[in-house]
Amino acid sequence: MTKADTVIVVKDLVKKFGSFVANDHLNFEVKRGEIFGFLGANGAGKTTAIKILCGLQSPTSGDIKVAGFNVYTQTNKIKQHIGYMSQKFSLYEDLTVSENFRFYGGIYGLSNKLIRERTKTLLQRLDLEHAANKVLRDIPLGWKQKLAFSVAVMHNPEVVFLDEPTGGVDPITRRQFWELIYEEANRGTTIFVTTHYMDEAEYCQRVSIMVDGRIEALDSPKKLKETYQAASMNEVFIRLARAQKNTE
């Protein structure tokens, strides 16, 4: 299989719940190895869109492909080729680090040999080899977050969805986490990330901002700041989300 350069293609994605339009004609593409920030206010429709892209929910209409697979008919294929991590997604607290790896590797059908190899490389990368046999509940929160990320990319997914991966994490660990994201992206994995930390929006190559079910803005942080004549992404975001609140 030749790998296409575009990993996520979304054309006219519409999702309705009754008369409520959660996603109103979304259009965007995400390239291989890109770090794509998916921002929006609470209730703007982010979660719905992510569920659709992960194959957990089917859209009302639109042409959507993730890793080359159709979200209507090939959801199982999609799930094989994506990784997912959220703040709530936690590893099993009563298993050791390597047991967690073995379990999640098993879910994706990796062979035992491959699981051992991947576990070793991933732990080496985190510099956490010494923790392999520690039970998860005994290790610091910051490590867990990084391990959860490693588990999410263990099966070499084409795209990994990170839903507020750094919520409540201390500023140093948060930055180390982003280093991991960068390294993974450099290896060709596409990163699709949501966050409430606006400084993290600056770390993305491109950012989309959802307001009220629509994508109001989509560009590199630099261009967005120029367009909206703002000093930071925080300002851009507030300007966009505020405008909507005032017309409500």
Partner: protein
Amino acid sequence: MKQQPAVVANDLTKSYKSQLALKKVSFQIENGELFGFIGPDGAGKTTLFHLLTTLLIPDTGSASVRGFDTVADYAAIRKIVGYMPGRFSLYQDLTVEENLNFFAGIFNTTIAENYHLIEDIYKQIEPFKTRRAGKLSGGMKQKLALSCALIHKPEVLFLDEPTTGVDAVSRMEFWEMLRKLKQQGITIVVSTPYMDEAALCDRVALMQNGEIMLTNTPQRIVDGFKGELLAVSSDNMFDLLHQLENIPDTAAAYRFGDRIHYVSERNIDPEIIQKALASSGQKNVVIEPITPVIEDCFIMLMKSKSKNDPN
């Protein structure tokens, strides 16, 4: 009679089983202050709030709210404080109005009696007052929870991570509401993992691993930043970080928004950095001294802590 300080804590220590959640925490919060506990998850903020709201008993040390001891006089404290726990703590199956009525009822008051206190906040959700709380959006839930915590006109208001998981705009609005409440003379104690919110408090305590690293006004904390903070940017940001780390005597180099913040152990001339980066092939390097923010201070405090503490 001299009025008692709003909150006083002396050497509060609390552990669960073998885990030490809070280590000898001391501070004093004055009446009418908007005081923030800033720190990541696991710093001990929620444990501290449970101790101050009389929900837990400290292992050692003591605390008081308005002069009442949190252990001996817990009943008196419960009459004068408002508390909003970190989790969404309203009845999802009751409507907005029923929730508010209920919380007014358990404090023997009515909505009408203290309506002036919550008016600004409640007005925004009043159009939805017959909607069940479970069906509200995140921002509206938060406003309802705040209204419920306020309805009995508390003297001291404890808000545990009210803005966690809330978007930047709703967070801003929330802090505007808190500033207005402060003007009504209510002491507000709030905790948050978002460093940028520290600047909105009168005074803050920076917490990490169950300890308070520093307590002061945001301005003084920033003024006390040791060394000169430089912001560096270039065309190749990814390599830039590692190149900066390799410069001798680097104390810290970390990404901050679209730039990298750099601190040196000595007063380094930006020219030297400029040269070093140019020789590593960096183009369009911009270096400028900037004023640190709380997050910079927090990072430097964490680094000096971990240096002094081998663990």
